[in-house]
């Protein structure tokens, strides 16, 4: 179902791009949600629809948006990854530490961060795929351990004094487009290709659709699961680069609760929490929707506590409306 839009050239060829077709796509509801919320925010706040503010929203979205890419892969296989925020913090802290305390070149530090993210993801993946342990427990434990390691390593201090060019990843711009936004779009594009155009992507969907059937037909389910958790670790580490660039420091306590934002983005984007169905573009829409909510409620000057209530209610409403796909 999820793939019709992308894998069905024959159906759409006849009519070209059709509104009816779009309405039937699983992206329809998230998009409608995005539009409705945007319009509401536009009414409530004059500044909302300025180019500047929209770019601002996208930049704010970028970190959770990037994390949500890996989360989409994991959730599509029917798993979950609660460790993303902690992995991001650890990757960022260690990569900053390598640059600042060990005087390594920035590029080495950044690469080391990515490696750490992937390794933690693979650790989750091995325990889930070969250890046959429930993902929610495994990644919960990894979350605790990664946080502990980050604090141990940094002694609780943020690590600052990074080479100035690192900030390019956080606040740089190419033309008027912020670098983290470009990075996010590139990662989404790669994820789209991976999910929709490669055998691996089909296997991810297949496992979420029916793991046993996929296995019996010859899909290497364990390897695919290992890979999705690895990807989740990798995207968390990419988010760490943006975060480090934005904060110009390694923050061992960054990203608390980001796993929940990422899950919310994935689910708001129409991906089934049980796996097998969903589109990566939906996740992008979901992440932007969350970002717009945060930004708009801020712009309106709504009491921050009330913002939590409103966000929770909107998520419930969106999931309720979308639950039948």
């Amino acid at each position: 179902m999820s793939h019709d839009a992308n894998t069905v050239p024959s159906q759409s060829r006849s009519t070209g791009f059709s509104v009816a077709g779009l309405l039937k796509s699983p992206l329809a509801l998230p998009l409608i949600g995005l539009i409705v919320v945007s319009v509401l925010m536009g009414f409530a706040s004059d500044n909302f629809f300025s180019v500047n503010n929209l770019l601002n929203v996208l930049r704010q979205v970028s970190i959770v948006g990037i994390i949500a890419v890996g989360m989409t892969f994991v959730i599509l296989t029917g798993g979950i990854d609660l460790s993303v925020g902690a992995v991001m913090a650890l990757a960022g802290t260690i990569s900053a530490g390598l640059m600042v305390n060990f005087g390594m070149p920035g590029i080495v530090g950044l690469l080391a961060g990515l490696v750490i993210g992937v390794l933690l993801g693979l650790f989750n993946g091995v325990l889930v795929a070969w250890g046959r342990m429930p993902a929610i427990i495994v990644t919960l434990a990894t979350m605790g351990m990664a946080r502990g390691f980050g604090l141990l390593y940094s002694g609780g201090y943020p690590i600052s004094g990074l080479p100035g060019w690192i900030s390019w990843f956080g606040i740089g711009r190419i033309g008027i487009i912020p670098v983290p936004v470009i990075l996010m779009f590139v990662i989404y594009a790669l994820a789209w290709v991976l999910l929709q155009r490669t055998p691996f992507g089909r296997h991810v969907y297949a496992i979420g659709g029916n793991e046993l059937a996929a296995k019996l037909s010859g899909v290497k389910t364990q390897r695919v699961k290992l890979a999705v958790y690895g990807i989740s670790g990798l995207t968390s580490a990419f988010a760490a680069i943006v975060l480090t660039g934005r904060l110009m420091s390694g923050q061992p306590n960054a990203g608390v609760g980001f796993e929940l934002d990422a899950i919310a983005a994935v689910v708001l984007g129409g991906t089934a929490i049980a796996g097998g169905r969903g589109l990566i573009l939906g996740t992008l829409i979901g992440a932007i929707l969350l970002g717009i909510l945060n930004n708009g409620l801020n712009l309106m000057g709504i009491n921050p506590y009330l913002q939590d209530v409103i966000k929770g209610a909107i998520i419930l409403l969106a999931i309720y409306i979308g639950r039948e796909w």
Binding site: Q60, Y157, S160, G161
Partner: protein, 281 residues
Amino acid sequence: AADKLKIGMTFQELNNPYFVSMKEALQQAAASIGADVVFTDAGHDVAKQISDVEDMLQQNIDILLLNPTDTAGIESAVRMAKQQGVIVVAVDANANGPVDSFVGSKNKDAGYKSCKYLAEDLGGKGEVAILDGIPVVPILQRVEGCKEALAEYSDIKLVDTQNGRQDRSVAMGVVENMIQSHPNLNGLFSVNDGGAMGALAAIQGSGKDIKLTSVDGAPEAVDAIAKGTPFIETTAQFPRDQVRVALGMALAEHWGAQVVPKEVPIDVEVVDQKNAEGFAW
């Protein structure tokens, strides 16, 4: 080693340099007098902090230095400690109950000084905003002091107050949005340096000329001020001194002093580009 002095300190959090430097000063001080020291991290959870205190009482500490997550919530731990005859000194934030002494910054002063500096720097006019934090007494006092200072300038307009939760990344997002909704913002006061660092990133990202002041004197903040960024001032507290003085109070009590001061306010000091070089906690 049963007669060795045992000091316990419970922190509201230990992933903030402010408290980490307190911890370090305590470890040094304890080492210099040959005392044992144990410490715990409550991670902002009062219930955990009470458990932590209980666990330290099981280890027969003589002195409890208490940096409470919440003034009211920690009371039962204070009482339990006193029942066991342990000397209790609150550090940085006060605790309800029969504490022997409280050592903390003059938080209202700190807020006042930062905002006065901000107002002066803006030439006494313009739009300013406050980046608030977690509602605990010291933070509330800083905001109070700040508002008092701003009120002295009739052309300064307080246009927005938002909560950055004293967290760098949260503060950054909030300030970015603040800048969008108040394009003419001239100045910003953050209740602590953690939030200020996030705010600084947001201001620099926006390319606007917004002056920033704050409270704490964290190394990173001092660094940023020395470099001549929009971050122009932080009113420094002295976390190491707080814990040293607190330990001094506790020791005095331990040695039998009868008139240990119930409250020892620690001065705060303006750090700006002039004196930032060379300032350290």
